[in-house]
């Protein structure tokens, strides 16, 4: 049965369904309702977990490393500056192979101070060795948090997972959400069985140092772990889809097969792109969409198989390149076109910074511009455009 609920509250209810045992978090807009609700349900006895209140996100992630290393199923959540304050600790969580799950309510980075949504926070933390999943709506947030624990704790993976949900656009909307039954979640997600734990009776060392003779091998091993997590993620998503009758994949397509021109995007913006595609259809224009749900590890072979025969590929980024050639998602796609020798025209649009509204009409204009450009008129295809910037 579906229940109308704010997505933030639903996210914490999902953590409860996952029977998290430890939470360490520091409140920050727009993640606040997630951790407030968790704090409530721990305090009132609904959720049997340790809730560590800390003085900063740096400490929140440090405490999470401690509880996870001690063998507890650990959850946290943050946004924007909070994620960046955790930054150095994020790398330690992944290198120690600790299956922490973190919901990131994506928000623009200051300055200028903005509490609104874009992807500049997670994109600045994209290379920290965490698995990164993106959600399009509230239902996906709930299901993805449950799946994230299964993925993280699988002994073939053992890596932390970030579940990204757009701040406000997702975190603060009320949606009808279908919560899975506790007993079904219990079956899908058994107790966490850590490979190693910190325990006074069984001393061992986590986080030792490595000399130049070992560091390369250590990082190579970690890289293999995240690369090899991809088939496991696919397997777990497909198992969840079967058990809970909602279809999940690392990449999802919309109006794809017969379209020569396709968008690639992540997060809630996909819903507006789908609306744009439906409007275009009425004008007999065919446009497709690939929703990237898994950004790390980047599913290059799977995406290449989809893009092989496409004429125009439009990559939507929600963060500035900061002096780089293009937006971060574009860079991945450009690299894969080269690796798989795909000849598609590639376009990059940066949209929705700091909460700027992006409407279906914007994507219709982008489509029209791109289709025109393919006739050889545009010189823009190697650069990016920022939609809606006043010049």
């Amino acid at each position: 049965m579906k229940k109308g609920i704010e997505v933030s509250i639903a996210a914490s209810e999902a953590a409860k369904l996952a029977r998290v045992e430890a939470i360490a978090a520091y409140p920050i807009t727009p993640q606040t309702h997630i951790v407030e609700h968790l704090s409530d349900i721990v305090a009132n006895g609904e959720l049997d977990a340790v809730y560590v209140t800390v003085e900063s996100e740096h400490s929140a992630m440090s405490a999470c490393i401690g509880t996870s290393a001690a063998g507890a199923r650990t959850f946290t959540s943050t946004s924007a500056q909070g994620l960046e304050l955790m930054h150095e600790i994020l790398f330690i969580a992944s290198a120690l192979r600790l299956p922490i799950v973190m919901a990131v309510a994506n928000r623009a980075l200051s300055a200028p101070l903005s509490i609104w949504n874009d992807h500049s926070d997670v994109m600045a933390a994209r290379d920290c060795g965490w698995i990164q999943l993106f959600c399009e709506n509230g239902q996906e947030v709930v299901d993805t948090i449950i799946m994230a624990f299964r993925i993280a704790e699988d002994h073939r993976v053992l890596l932390p997972v970030m579940v990204n949900l757009d701040g406000f656009q997702l975190s603060h909307v009320v949606e009808p959400i279908d919560f899975p039954d506790q007993k079904d979640v219990d079956k899908f997600l058994p107790d966490y069985k850590p490979l190693y734990t910190l325990h006074p009776d069984r001393p061992l060392t986590m986080g030792a140092y490595a000399t130049p003779e070992l560091y390369t091998e250590a990082k190579f091993a970690q890289e293999q772990a995240i690369i090899n997590s991809l088939p496991v993620i696919k397997e777990i998503l497909s198992e969840y889809s079967k058990k809970f009758k909602r279809k999940y994949n690392i990449l999802e397509t919309y109006n794809f097969e017969k379209s020569d021109t396709v968008f690639i995007a992540m997060g809630s913006v996909n819903e507006n792109i789908m609306t744009a595609i439906d409007t275009l259809k009425k004008d007999k224009k065919s446009c497709g969409l690939v929703k990237v749900r898994l950004f790390r590890p980047f599913p290059d072979a799977e995406l290449a198989a989809l893009l092989e025969k496409k004429k125009n590929v439009i990559v939507i980024d929600r963060a500035m390149p900061a002096g780089g050639m293009n937006g971060p998602v574009y860079n991945e796609v450009a690299a894969l076109l080269r690796r798989y020798n795909i000849k598609a025209n590639l376009f990059n649009y940066i949209v929705g910074l700091g909460g700027r509204d992006v409407l279906p009409e914007d994507f219709i204009s982008v489509y029209d511009e791109v289709v025109k450009a393919k006739k050889g008129k545009s010189k823009e295809k190697t650069n990016y455009k920022v939609i809606g910037v006043r010049a």
Partner: protein, 97 residues
């Protein structure tokens, strides 16, 4: 460590580089970092043990006769012992090994 570090292949490392052997840091002989080493003038030493107390690497030990000396497998030659030794019984000298 059952074999020297430079012989480990990436897939032989434990997940997360966990070390299950307790106290394995002992096997890493940090004395190789040293360029200076402490030498004791036992005619000035009053066996107060400040050098032993201050050594950050616990590389100084007391001999049976009560005087102190450094375990050169681990002494990094930092010179803190010589600095703290108020009777000036410790001198740092070039380690010519």
């Amino acid at each position: 460590m059952p074999k020297p570090m430079e012989e480990y292949k990436w897939h032989e490392l434990r997940i997360g580089c966990v070390i299950e052997e307790v106290g394995s840091a002992r096997e890493y002989k940090t004395g190789g970092w040293r360029s200076m080493k402490p030498v004791w003038d036992e005619s000035r030493c009053i066996k107060c043990g400040l050098c032993w107390l201050y050594c950050p690497d616990a590389a100084i030990y007391q001999k049976e006769d009560g005087f102190f000396t450094a375990d050169l497998d681990y002494c990094k030659g930092c010179g803190i012992c010589a600095h703290e030794c108020w009777p000036k019984a410790i001198k740092m000298v070039e380690d010519e090994k």
